[in-house]
Amino acid sequence: MRGVNAALGAAGLAAFLALGEAVPRLGLVEETYFPPTSRIAEALADETGDSAFWTALGDTLTGWALGLAIASCAGIVVGVLISVVPYLRAATASTIEFLRPIPSVALIPLAVLLYGTELRSVLLLVVYASFWQVLIQVLYGVQDVDPVADETARSYGLGTWARIRHVLWPTALPYVMTGVRLAAAVALILAITSELVIGAPGLGKRIGVAQTSQAVPEMYALIVVTGLLGLLINVGARTVERRALAWHQSVRGEVAV
């Protein structure tokens, strides 16, 4: 089954690439603005031969990883804190619902004023966008705690810390993992967007420079790289999720009774 799926996936990709080659060659779209696959591949090969490209890739990954780490830690800590302390959740719910829909990109002027075009500008946007993904999932996860289990733990005299550790955390972990996986994708999007718009060093900035330089194939080559990066991050996040939740029924595949 796995082999068949992989073969189908490869065939789909090959068909897509062939389409990308054919459409501009047949003149359906202007070749100047949508170069054929082979031309993009050529530009991609040139890019990988340039050390500045790898520096840019490193910058983007740094912004992504740091932003995701900060957002995940903050999301987990704040989420657990809000859930554990009575009344805090009710007091913060409206504020969270107000802040959450604000698009991170709208904070670009603020980021520029505070930090210019440095990494910190990127981090501000990445953290803001991905923090909510984790926080909301943690809140859902904590809500899912079995009240009987919680009461049992209480009646056995477990303290707050022990209850978080033995009851709350195992219940919330699958939700946390979903949150982190979603946040990983959002963080990459925001890292590249902020580089593109603000001009902080990274792949986004390189795309912007290629765009203003009328270097169309190079621009698409870099876009392909960001796509591949997104794919890798998603596969990686799923692997981490499967490993971390190996004990959980959703991954073990056991039928819950």
Binding site: E30, T32, Y33, I70, V112, T117, E118, R120, L196, S213
Partner: protein
Amino acid sequence: MRRRLFTRLAAVSVLLTAAACGSSDGGGTSDAGASSGGVTTVEVGLIPIVDVAPLYLGQEKGFFEKQGLKLRFTTAQGGAAIVPGVASGQFQFGFSNVTSLMIAQSNNVPIKAVANAIASTGVEGKDFSAITVGKDSPIRSPKDLEGKRVAINTLKNINETSVRASVRKAGGDPDKVEFVELAFDQMPAALDSGQIDAAQVVEPALATVRSQGGRIIASPLVDVAPDLTVALYFTSTRYAQQNPEVVEKFRKATAESLAYADAHPDEARRIVTTYTKIPAAVLEKVTLPKWPAEPNRASIEALMKLGEDDGLFKSTPDLDKLLP
């Protein structure tokens, strides 16, 4: 198993948070503006376009070093990041078009121009900026733009003012032109597919339009004033007050770099390839701007009057305060 996972997770998160804090602290201590061994390093906010080639060339030729300056370039995609960056002290110097600076000044943003950046070539039909139409377009003159969709990169800025000047000069009514905001790099495609009737483009998009057979119907910057000063390098008023000697050194070295770039267009073209990705074939056909060492005040006054007619300014910009 679970215990181990938890401990590991906790350890990793502590480590990552520590790394994050460490790195952001490290990145925060900007040594820009600090001097060491008699050399002052200044951060300059630029747009990665042909216009700023003289600074890169001047740095390479040692004109800034001679003055005891070292430039560190930060390129941003547009003026949106540069003006606030300079005003808030992230960059010591920045590059911006004259109208943006006048708008900022009329809004009491504390900035001051310190050196010339670029001027139009002053030659009708042979400038780095042009109003262009597709090859089969019936539009012959800016007067024909009445009722048509014309793309400019930013509404209510230098390009709108200059296109309006061209329409007015040709005897048309600029109020009847429908302006559409579009990034320069997207204009050739939009023009080609007929989404817009005309576009005011600058290099290198202009070279792309020309290679598709597009026609130039006017040179808007030339229509504003002869030898129009288009952009200037600027700093914040606070930095200018606190570091007058650095500003003077920057002005001197920039003037030397501008004169050198103007006299050596081939070298200017070559250095452009170091900070942009303009393909060699396109770069060959690009019309370079003029790089006079000093701004042309009369032309800036003409631009200001037109801008006032267009209602761009809250109050009349004070050119005595703004210009070097």
